[in-house]
């Protein structure tokens, strides 16, 4: 039984229509930044995106990557620190498009980013039109502090899964914890189930 805090009350109007925002989240108009280290800045001529762990490793330069078919994505995003942002507008390359060029039988993926960040995802969560490598935000190139030149976008999971500065996907047979997952955050991270920490 939770103790009632006298004098504590809802101060905000409901943020959105019922069912739009996962439990425990509040809506923000800002775009807060959370990351564990300095913002890496990789020049586009040195940037590549790779998929490893499948049959033949596949790699794209920035030019090759940007020549792939891209699509606009409008999605609500949910950070484990409890802010949600509605109707964010992105542009990116579907992970399906990238994986189409790789032979594999993997069940999981570990995303690797500049700066050493990693995060793990079941492959079925990054396929089927549910995940992108995003390079545009709100009609502009994605800013470095928000993960530019390119970040993972997996809006149906907590946003730490949408790895900033992503540079490769490692295909794996078994699930392996990434950076925050090693520090006690949930292996899957479904915001609708409030899977914030291990055991939630």
């Amino acid at each position: 039984m939770s103790p009632v805090s006298r004098g504590f009350r809802r101060r905000r109007l409901p943020d959105a229509e019922p069912g739009r925002v996962p439990p425990g989240q509040y809506v923000t108009g800002d775009f807060p930044v959370l990351s564990a280290g300095p913002t890496p800045r990789t020049a586009l001529q040195n940037w590549t995106f790779s998929i490893t762990g499948g049959g033949e490793p596949r790699s794209w330069t920035w030019e090759q990557f940007r020549a792939l078919p891209a699509e606009p994505v409008t999605a609500d995003i949910h950070c484990v620190t409890r802010w949600s942002k509605l109707d964010t507008r992105w542009e990116g390359v579907s992970i399906d498009t990238l994986l189409d060029q790789v032979e594999h039988h993997a069940g999981f993926a570990l995303a690797h980013s500049d700066g050493g960040y990693t995060t793990n995802l079941p492959l079925q969560d990054v396929t089927g039109g549910r995940a992108w490598v995003a390079f545009g935000y709100d009609g502009e190139p994605l800013e470095p502090e928000h993960g530019g030149p390119a970040r993972l976008l997996v809006p149906h999971l907590y946003f730490w899964k949408s790895a900033k500065w992503v540079r490769s996907l490692e295909l794996l047979d078994a699930d392996e914890p990434g950076f925050w997952e090693t520090y006690g955050y949930h292996m899957y991270g479904d915001p609708w189930l409030e899977q914030r920490y291990a055991g939630d």
Partner: protein, 247 residues
């Protein structure tokens, strides 16, 4: 990046407020009696959950302000458009109960065994987890030399003012005031920029370990500045909070 994984479930438990202490006009430290606290490391945070009479609930994360081994304390800055921080800083009294769970996080932590001089850079209430590190250093008898560069708007906004002025024995505290400096101010003036960092921070050659905490724009500038001074990015650990004050 080997971490200390949190094992098992983080369960909610009821804590009782032991004391509340105003640090500044907008900032209050709340010391909590947490019967089942498993212990924490300097730099970790916890989640607080409040329940209103009508059943409405809100949760927020707060950095732990106390050192490992001390009673659990959080230091909360009131955000005028916030929901939880006005309650915690204005309504909450000693003897009240609230729910919490933790500790959470294992990357932005410091242990006396970590090598290299300690470089702490704080903006505003970003001082809170760094204060836990300084207290931990003191209590553990560590001889690791430490420097703190702490940016506040004005002198009355400086959190833990008297405590920070008492540190000696290998701790150098430098405060900078960005908006207004009182007459006779002997600290620094202006924002943390490349020049101030280069004058105050350990040179990269001594392999310092840096922790930067504050608002996003502050952390972006300070962390980039340290990398510019030659700090390897993996030796600069950051914690940011957005303008909306998730913290």
């Amino acid at each position: 990046m080997a971490g200390t994984a949190l094992r098992g479930r983080l369960t909610w438990q009821i804590a009782m407020v032991d004391t509340v202490t105003d640090e500044t006009a907008r900032v209050r430290t709340i010391v909590l009696d947490v019967p089942q606290w498993p212990g924490h490391r300097a730099g970790q945070h916890l989640d607080v959950r409040l329940t209103a009479e009508d059943g409405y609930r809100a949760e927020r994360s707060y950095s732990i302000a106390s050192a490992p081994g001390e009673p659990v304390a959080i230091t909360v800055e009131r955000l005028d458009d916030g929901e939880v921080s006005p309650y915690l800083t204005q309504e909450l009294r000693a003897g009240d109960e609230l729910e919490l769970r933790g500790p959470i996080g294992g990357y932005f932590v410091w242990e006396p065994e970590d090598d290299g001089p300690l470089m702490l850079v704080a903006g505003g209430s970003g001082i809170v987890p760094l204060r836990a590190m300084l207290r931990h250093r003191q209590r553990s008898g560590s001889a690791i030399p430490a420097r703190l560069l702490y940016s506040s708007r004005t002198l009355p906004d400086v959190i833990y003012q008297s405590e920070l002025s008492r540190y000696a024995d290998g701790v150098e505290v430098t405060c900078t005031l960005t908006r207004q400096q009182p007459p006779g101010w002997t600290g620094r003036a202006g924002r943390v920029d490349a020049k101030l960092l280069s004058e105050v921070c350990w040179p990269a050659a001594v392999s310092p370990l840096a922790y930067v905490c504050g608002p996003t724009s502050f952390v972006e500038a300070a962390a980039a500045g340290l990398v510019g001074l030659g700090y390897p990015p993996h030796r600069v650990k950051t914690e940011r909070f957005g303008a909306t004050g998730g913290r």
